[in-house]
Symmetry: C2
């Protein structure tokens, strides 16, 4: 573990783990959900509000930030924390995944990925070494190794070649990261849906040695069942005493199933993106505020929720401001969704602490099965 970083496992319930990741910028209670602050902002939220929902850590996207406003600029301005007014931990991805999904004319070889910016068409090269340097410039607390997120579906030969490239890049990331007290480096397991490849990848990463381990290459279209199949074995291949981070996941029931399978950290754009498209996550399932059935409904989105959207407004209002394309719609629904996600994580942490996660999960599914509120 990097100096000043400590992962304490407090309790275990089945394979689920309760822990705390101590960092120089504050503690992260795990299992943890990290809201995504792509371009130095969690969209439609002020940082103080994000913290109020219970978030201990944010995720920043290296790809977006390197292109705009630029990592050197952020470094000159004192780093990402001060720039975006968030003084708690930040994890940055390596840029690899975003390059492959967003950049133009990308070309991957042993060295790294060449691409053109989707913003202005400028030429860039991202390598394990430059990714480490950019994440250092940003001031990221938890740096992710540079990898290739193996596309889905992939036959075993393709998955193997891709995973082995990522492992060579993992070693180069480790070498380039060097010794940075106060900062942590996480490796990323690949191997697609193949158990033997996941095992080989985990062994390689353990050999190199990281401060935490991510499970990559999931939530890329394989579906929940296939993802859970991998999670039935993949987390346990990773060191027990280090945090395990499932990248890009997910829907509420994905989080619940993954926590049951031993995952400690998550990130996903779903609660924030859905907040901008009129979708609310509640304990009774997803509510689409754009639906006309809400137009005259005086009831709150969720009568049991303590967030500002549920405490101050009716479904009728949330429907109205969504239809009118008012910014407050994104503000309120994003706040609600992040509040719900953090409450779900806090609920799972409390259940693990008391050894009642199975009951918690049963109640979680039962309440969703009841469906949304009865008609007025």
């Amino acid at each position: 573990m990097a100096q000043d970083f400590e992962f304490e496992r407090i309790a275990q319930d089945g394979r689920a783990r309760l822990g705390v990741l101590r960092t120089p910028r504050g503690e992260i209670q795990t299992p943890a959900f990290m809201p995504v602050g792509t371009a130095a902002t969690v969209k439609a939220m002020l940082p103080g509000s994000v913290r109020e929902t219970g978030a201990d850590i944010l995720l920043g996207n290296t790809y977006h930030l390197m292109l705009r406003p630029g990592a050197e600029r952020i470094e000159r301005l004192g780093g990402l924390h001060g720039f975006m007014n968030w003084d708690r931990p930040i994890l940055t991805d390596s840029g690899g995944f975003q390059v492959m999904s967003l950049a133009q004319l990308r070309k991957l070889d042993e060295q790294g990925v060449r691409f053109k910016s989707h913003i202005d068409g400028s030429d860039w090269l991202l390598t394990p070494e430059s990714s480490m340097e950019i994440q250092r410039q940003l001031g990221s607390d938890i740096v992710m190794a540079f990898d290739e997120c193996t596309p889905h579906p992939a036959d075993e030969t393709t998955a193997e070649e891709s995973m082995r490239l990522s492992m060579r890049w993992a070693q180069r990331s480790r070498d380039a990261f060097g010794d940075r007290p106060g900062y942590a480096l996480f490796g990323i397991q690949q191997g697609s849906l193949y158990q033997d490849l996941r095992g080989e990848s985990a062994a390689e990463l353990r050999k190199i040695g990281f401060d935490g381990y991510a499970i990559g290459g999931l939530a890329v279209g394989e579906g929940q069942e296939a993802m859970f199949d991998v999670l039935d074995y993949a987390p346990d291949m990773l060191p027990e005493d280090k945090p395990r981070y499932l990248m890009g996941v997910g829907k509420p029931d994905d989080l619940v199933g993954a926590v049951q399978r031993g995952v400690d950290m998550f990130d996903c754009v779903l609660p924030t993106r859905s907040g901008r498209t009129g979708q609310a996550f509640t304990r009774r399932g997803v509510v689409n505020l754009k639906n006309a059935r809400h137009a005259n409904d005086p009831r709150p989105l969720d009568p049991d929720c303590a967030c500002p959207a549920c405490q101050g407004y009716s479904r009728a209002y949330l429907h109205h401001v969504f239809k009118s394309q008012e910014i407050i719609s994104a503000m309120l629904l994003t706040w609600h969704n992040l509040h719900y996600y953090q409450e779900l994580m806090a609920g799972m942490r409390a259940a693990i602490a008391s050894g009642t996660l199975d009951e918690f999960v049963a109640a979680f599914h039962a309440q969703r099965a009841e469906g949304d509120l009865e008609p007025v």
Copy 2:
């Protein structure tokens, strides 16, 4: 004055008045600036934040609300205050001005204005009587009489005919409003730039009797000098013991000049609209955050401002999020602009109280003349 409404004049400095308008929903310190909450939201702000900037009262737009979500719906849901989560006073305009500037195929005659909705093309008729009814359904605390905002420029005959129509509509508004304890009705002076017409209009309104008096038909393209020429005489034509409201004004120096001329209330979309287009109002003048000169500037927008945008962020950040079209840009700049406007009003109120408005105004202009911050 309507029962439960009381306007107390506390101090006078030259023609400027310090007062308090007491309403069943709370006090309004005057001179007051009312943020505009067109469609049941002050765009990009939560109501609690609007209140934090110092706003005592909001303005709602009858035209927008009648079309969407509909005044009957808002009434069924318990009124505009609960709907938009603002429990302090709300003033609504009559819809007349917005119909003439936004609606399609509008046709004005003695009865009122026929038009098609700009949202769905549906047919509507707005009259003094229906405007009073819609504003009642909304639950507005301060109802505006239905008038025609005389277009600019207007020759004297046109201005006279338009003003006299508005005065007949003012009487019909008064009759239709009836006796509503706890709610106030304001009349609106017209007469374009013609002093004799302004005088005739004021006399008509005084004869009818209102709880407050607005100065209408200004800020429609005549320029500040012509507006101030009218304000040199128009406010004093209105009853001394009632609040005077200058509709749709204005820029910071408009507010200052109008307060000096005896105006008590203002509304304008400028601080909120500008907040969405990267324009910030500061004591040193307007700052355009889209300007590339801010890209590397670590300094706050205004080092002496206590708003969240100035306390938490650099100009470089505000430039970045504006360029990246992030919602937080509108959130922060709107908050800043409303904070600045309310601080300006509070400064003028304190200066009137201490009899130092001339000094305050001199300092206001001197600081603006210094211009924006020196280059880094």
